[in-house]
Amino acid sequence: MNWTNALPVVAVFSSLLPGLLIFALREQQQGLRTGLNLLGVTVKLIVVGVMLWGVSQGLDFRVEAPFLPGGALILHGDALSLQFVSLSAVLWMATTIYAIGYLRGTPLQSRFFGYFSICVSATVGVALAGNLITFLLFYELLTLATYPLVVHRGTREALDAGRSYLAYTVAGGTLLLMGIAVLHALSGSPQFVPGGYLASVPARHGPALTVAFALLITGLGVKAALIPLHGWLPKAMVAPTPVSALLHAVAVVKAGAFGIVRVIYDVYGAETLEQLDLTAPLIAVAAFTVIFASLRALQQRHLKRRLAYSTVSQLSYIVLGAALLGPIAAVGGLVHLIHQGIMKITLFFCAGAFEKTLGVHRISEMDGIGRRMPLTMSAFTVGALGMTGIPPTAGFISKWFLAAGGLEVGQPWVVWLFVVSGLLNAAYFLPLVYRGWFSIPTAEWPEDHQPESGWETRRMLLLPTLFTALLTLLMGLLAGSALGPLGWSQLIVAREFPL
């Protein structure tokens, strides 16, 4: 095994091993725990950096181990997987720092960080999975590792949310398993191939392929929170904020969306899907989700719940982009995978900082918060504008490509879908910005939360927030650079749609 083969494994284990070690730590070993976390983060970032460089140079990172008959365990770092891996690695770093700040002084930190790291490993595994079986393995691991995080607080409300989460995701996982089994029975579980490997399956298996597609998409759609499979996501808000952040930006929902992208492009392939005419229902569901979830978000009075419904809506952008089966739309979907992650995590970081510093949970409590916490509120504004798709944020870039992609494949209504969605996004985000900056606070802010003099909130909460907010801006402003998410997405699409 040469070094190129080892790297995907290192990428997975760089968070898994610290996670397992952290379980064994006592609660008081704060320093050691932080050290382990940061060590894992650093290693992972380095490995991901090397892999990014390698893939852009045309290197192939691949490792294989026997697992099931006809379906080995394959970890494969291709362009698409690296897109997701880099997102996970970077946001893991941010979230780890954030979580250290957020959880300071609360019990059960070892358990939290242990599962947290495992969760990230599972995400990286999902990203690097080279075939459906491997994907399933990590996908289920992700389900399990996330559950303890969702219920971390241990309250009845948290447990209820956890139950709902499990009910949805385990059911989804089972459907996914069925779908994978159907495909496995037809053609085994070979490695993902750009353009799909099912093209060679004889035409008489069309019904089976259709059923499998429905199963796979339904299974993945649970995590991707397609309506009506989204019910768990808003409830999962009771989790500690770093968890919500990671859940919404990277780990769980993205695994679903990423899986849908994989299934569409690397399992079925655009041609097969067009022949079977399978994407129309998916497009319809995604479009409906975009609108309906936005309307639901309007109804929410709880900050994190509103953010959650916004996630539901935004995730369907990705799904829609993938399902439109055109290169530009695909670029839009893929780049939104990154952009949505960065923007949403910013918003959640802010929400968490408000909550920790001032005890603000509800939207109505946000009046004038910008005076008290201007930096955090600025980050929030950037995130909110990004979600709405206002330039120069990252959200604008993805929206542009998605709309253009819709036109390209002859679906002009997609443009207007994004118009309406943008309006609704504005309708539920901009009032928050208004409240934060322009309203007068109704009561004095509590003073005793201020932990470090001279800072508006704990430093560990503020720095990651500003970092991701900056990224949001940079990804919009520097969208043209070749190594940015847009350039990388175009690289992926160039490989998926050989012209």
Binding site: L295, I390, A403, L407, F418, G422, L423, S481, L486
Partner: protein
Amino acid sequence: MNGTVNGVVNADLWLNVLLAPLAGIVVLLVVGRKSVPWLWLSCVPALLAAIWPPGELNPGYLWPAASWGAPDPLARGWLGFTALLWGCATAGAAGIVDWDKSGMRFWLFWLFSLSGNLLLVIGKDAISFYMGFTIMSIAAYGLVVHHGGPGPRRAGRIYLQLAITGEMILLAAFVMRAQSVGGSLALADWQQLPIDGFTLAALVLGFGLKIGFWPLHVWLPLAHPAAPSPASAVLSGAMIEAGILGLWRALPADDSLLQSWAGPLLALGLFSAFYGVLLGLITSQVKAALAYSSVSQMGYFLVILALAWRHPEQSSAFAILLVLFAAHHGIAKGALFLGTSIHPLHRWTWLVYLLPALAISGLPLTSGGAVKGDLKHWISESDFSHLSGVFKLATAGTTLLLARALWLLRRADAGTTARHRSGLLLGPWTLLCLSVVLVPLLWPGFREVWIEQLSWSTTWQLLWPMAAAIALTGFAIKMEWRVPEPLRRWYTPVLPFSLRLKRWLYNPPLPRTHLELDWRWWRQQERRWNHFWNERGIISSSGWLLGFILLAGVIWSAFW
């Protein structure tokens, strides 16, 4: 025409045009209030670039196809007057805006808005333009609602609702336009290739919401009174005109579809021009009257556009007219708005103040005289020459409206005790007022037109409606005419509609999606089921089941 200095000025100046306001932000954050008097410097690179424009800059590391420059006189002139207006307004605002009342917030939004405005002017590609346009619009929200309280909040709400709607429609229109020209994002390409009606409608609607001609003007008379006066100045002087620029840039120069749309557009423009006057006459706020004047003036812009659409062969000439008109209106209206903050008004300030007011009315020798004369000239040359008479009426209306505005200003000045007369305000304001004369003299392109219109016939044609209007005003003041009571409470359906929209958005009527299960019923069934087995006991039940299995197996086999 910029050949002489092209080699001297580096293309990176374009970058500096944008970096200057951003640097202003940084300085502001670091230094605080001390930096405020110097923030007008952030407009200097833009002004320099307008005077000595370097070659285009393609910052490929930014968004795709990014390209900045001022390739034609239109862009150059636009950049110039925008920079001038913003510079003066910035300097003036330093004297008006109270730092202690959220001054920092104001300046941040101000500088963001400025950078957006500059970006859209220098952008040669669609994304730059859209980006600048949006940053400008959104940041201006912060200026509109700066004062706080119910009025600004209401104005801001409507502004934002319409602005965002406009942005989104524009996004759609831009995407469609880009796709219809084969994915190219260069605005130069957009001006070459034909357009379809749908995209055109979207563009007109999207930009129209910013431009504010009838019937999309509803935010203007609300936002201007609410905003601080420098903000009103740039809103009316630079921002709404950006919409005109956008319309010009995004549309092809020569297109049969546009030719057929020219007539309706002209009608819309004329209606807008008169509608603005009439509504302005019955308001009782200075800035609202000025805002209605803007609505009215935007009508003229539409007329110019309609002419250009109808006569594509003279497109370049109309481009000149457009930029001159924009410069004229921007500077004059900016001066008027900025001046509303000067209290108390002395005799000489009144004199200075009259200058832009008369310029807007079209006083010869001012910029207004030049552009209006030129416009009339082109109308008489065009297919719409039979409408020349209407413009005389319009000029009279404009004068009447401005007279009303001045009268309202005088009344307001008498009623206020606030004092704003610092040099920081008066200096730039005076510069701006004088610019209505100076700019036509200093700007070579403008000077040509100015000289062209220095004929007696033109002067007469411009002057007599003005004189008539002034006479009418004097008569009205003498007679102490009041706006009739029913007209004062002019009903606009926009406000309740906006409020209803807000409430609807706050809680959209959605179907309940929760499944209601009757748990008690299920529990009862379960109890019944448990009871059924309990009663029999394990052994008996098992015995029964065993017996049934034996029988069932046999029956199954028999029927297999």
